[in-house]
């Protein structure tokens, strides 16, 4: 898959001289590359510097010979050695006891010296027993104190040595959880200081539950899905492959979303499924469509919509912000989970655009919170102010007398924002949702919130109603159609809802 936009974050304020290394190493975004090239064309001294850097880089990268046949032989030998060691180490208790008994018998039992030593040991045990019986009335140490003992330092180096200080260049290689993480889309995982909307999960967990069929099915079954729901997802995705337009957009006729939001919804379904030759181009085209509509400000929207986001309470403004927030989630997932799908910077710019002043209604605040939750767990730096804004906004209004779709969105956002400390009123608003009649977008938010909340009984009841409604809505060609809205294609939303089992890890 080709990179849609390569290079790093923009450096508009930096002098060109400081960008030359990054230019030679391919680390600059398109705009900065053009700026360097223009400056180099105009300034011979700069051109000379660039040539020197290029020569230095080339000389620092001499050709590397092929690995030798001797290496191949040695590799086979050492691998078989290390595998054998581990087999011994993993032997069960019976094998270990048998091996030890055999060793003792062969080594010691026949020896007179061993027999004498065994007699001494028996006598010694007798003396110790007497002493213990004499002191039996003294208070014994409380049971369970082992729990208070200090936890041994984990040897993360893997070579049997204790950890050293961070200043030491030999610090442990796998000590990520012990340090504040430098967040990054490919690394994933939240730092202690990162925003707290929604639960924590890791990129690796997402990769495993989304893209490993056995893990995905296991997770789906654990949460009440299984063969039937997965088959429905596969049929839905097959329909979506054919439903995408040539320019990459999806059009479903969803009442609450524009083409940006609908395209993001369509692509998100493919980001939680096996990516094969038929599905990969769907992601590529969808991402291209979104990026073709990204403004310099980071906003992703139809060109006339950005102005309306200054008044986000207007219908068009809300729709534009919601579409943008979904698109930002889509780009963040694509960047972190599908190598080469999205270049550096574009997702980060889209996330940065989600400023508090643009988020002022239940739906956009909830979606922005979910977008930030996903992005921060995938390792993106997200605006902390926006995260705090979303949590505060939802907490302040969680008991407002809304109803219908907005009530569900507000409750879902509130449950995610407070996580284990969720408000009973919000949980009740979700668990009493009439799933059979609800708006599909509301069902998606409710499903995500209840699944991540993880309260088994509440989820099971919701899930039963959700499956009972969605599966009969699917037609033979894979499309999901609601009886109450036969002109709207609900496939993308239904797929996302049915992927909720494993979308955010196990």
């Amino acid at each position: 898959m080709s990179t849609v936009e390569g290079g790093g974050t923009p450096h508009r304020d930096e002098p060109v001289e400081t960008l030359l290394e990054a230019y030679v190493l391919g680390e600059l975004a398109e705009g900065d590359r053009a700026r360097v090239e223009a400056a180099v064309d105009a300034d011979p001294a700069l051109a000379a510097s660039l040539a020197q850097i290029r020569t230095t880089v080339d000389a620092g990268r001499p050709a590397v010979p092929a690995l030798s046949a001797a290496y191949r032989r040695e590799r086979a030998r050492r691998l078989s050695e290390v595998f054998a060691e581990c087999r011994e180490a993993q032997a069960g208790p019976i094998e270990l006891v048998a091996a030890f008994a055999s060793y003792v018998r062969d080594r010691f039992v026949q020896s007179p010296r061993f027999r004498f030593a065994a007699m001494c040991a028996v006598l010694q045990l007798g003396v110790i027993g007497l002493l213990l019986a004499w002191g039996g009335s003294k208070p014994s140490a409380p049971k369970g104190t082992g729990r208070d003992w200090p936890t041994p330092v984990v040897d993360a180096r893997g070579d049997g040595r204790l950890l050293e200080t961070d200043d030491d260049l030999g610090a442990a290689e796998n000590d990520l959880p012990r340090r504040p993480l430098v967040v990054d889309p490919e690394r994933g995982g939240r730092s202690d200081a990162s925003p707290r909307f929604g639960p924590s999960f890791s990129r690796a967990a997402l990769v495993s539950t989304r893209f490993e069929p056995a893990t995905r099915m296991r997770t789906a079954k654990r949460w009440g899905g299984g063969d039937r729901t997965e088959a429905a997802v596969a049929r839905g995705l097959a329909h979506l492959v054919g439903a995408q337009r040539d320019d990459g957009r999806f059009v479903f006729g969803t009442e609450r979303l524009d083409a940006i939001g609908e395209t993001a919804l369509g692509v998100l379904g493919f980001l939680a499924a096996d990516i094969d030759d038929a599905r990969r181009p769907v992601i590529e085209r969808g991402v291209r469509f979104l990026l073709a509509h990204q403004r310099p400000s980071g906003f992703i929207g139809l060109s006339s919509k950005e102005a309306s986001t200054v008044a986000p309470n207007e219908t068009s403004g809300r729709r534009a912000v919601l579409g943008h927030a979904l698109a930002a989630q889509c780009l963040a997932e694509a960047r972190a989970l599908v190598p080469g799908a999205v270049g550096d910077g574009v997702a980060a710019r889209a996330l940065a655009w989600l400023a508090p002043e643009r988020l002022d209604d239940p739906v956009t605040v909830t979606q922005a919170g979910i977008t930030l939750m996903v992005a921060s767990n995938l390792g993106f730096v997200v605006p902390a102010g926006t995260d705090a804004h979303c949590r505060g906004w939802l907490a302040d209004r969680s008991r407002e007398g809304l109803d219908g779709f907005e009530r569900v969105a507000l409750a879902a956002g509130d449950v995610l924002a407070r996580r284990g400390d969720a408000d009973a009123v919000s949980i009740a608003a979700l668990s009493t949702l009439d799933v059979g009649q609800s708006d599909p977008v509301a069902m998606l938010y409710a499903a995500q919130a209840l699944r991540l909340l993880g309260e088994r009984d509440t989820w099971d009841a919701f899930n039963r109603a959700m499956v009972a409604r969605l599966l009969p809505e699917q037609r033979a060609d894979g499309r999901f159609v609601r009886a109450s809205a036969p002109d709207a294609d609900g496939t993308a939303l239904a797929v996302l809802v049915l992927q909720t089992y494993y979308r955010f890890g196990a």
């Binding site: 000389a59 590397v64 590799r75 993360a156 260049l169 959880p177 430098v182 690394r187 990129r203 690796a204």
Partner: protein
């Protein structure tokens, strides 16, 4: 679809040897490159490459899947390299190959062989070898942090973002260290009478 490294490593943790060999096949070349461009000795680089894989297998239970596997791999390689330097160059900065040594490596291909592109003139190859050796010498004059960034970016061709993860520093710091190190190196080369 090829399984992700992290997925393979998860299988390795469960004792899947084929997954481990798959990981080695996928990444052994980059580990070898890492060491070769530091020691310039085939045999040593191959040995250290295998050492790293053995360490990874023995410590497989310690791998935490919240780290990208290649980041983990480079961290293990980096620590192994540092240990190697402690043993073999204790008390000295990690300077490896002098200009005089550059063409006389007995165990592996000479630096000239390695550097020489087909069709390059002998003079050009000699110049490239000298420049390469001088660059390594110059890198040894940099501060530890600058030298590490330089080696990872130039010798190992690792992107800034991943260098940041390996060294646990922000990408902006990687960029500034790279700029500073290149600036110092060019100045040092100039003082040595070499203009790249």
């Amino acid at each position: 679809m090829k399984p992700a490294d992290e997925v393979l490593m998860a299988r390795v943790r469960e004792g899947d040897r084929a997954a481990f060999e798959h990981l080695i096949d996928r990444h052994e070349r980059r580990v070898f490159t890492f060491f070769y461009r530091r020691v310039h000795d085939n045999g040593h680089a191959e040995d250290m490459t295998l050492d790293v894989w053995m360490k990874i297998y023995q410590a497989r239970q310690n791998y935490r899947p919240d780290a990208k596997f290649t980041t983990y791999l480079y961290r293990v390689a980096r620590n192994h390299w540092i240990d190697y330097m402690r043993v073999h160059h204790s008390g000295s900065r990690p300077s490896m190959v002098s200009i005089e040594d550059a063409g006389s490596d007995q165990d592996g291909p000479s630096l000239l062989d390695a550097l020489g592109a087909p069709g390059e003139s002998p003079e050009r190859r000699q110049y490239s070898a000298e420049l390469a050796a001088k660059i390594r010498e110059g890198v040894d004059q940099l501060s530890t942090g600058e030298a590490e960034v330089f080696r990872l970016a130039i010798f190992d061709e690792i992107r800034y973002a991943e260098i940041g993860r390996i060294l646990d520093i922000p990408v902006g710091t990687v960029k500034s260290r790279m700029h500073t190190s290149m600036h110092k190196l060019r100045r040092w080369l100039s003082r040595e009478g070499i203009t790249p």
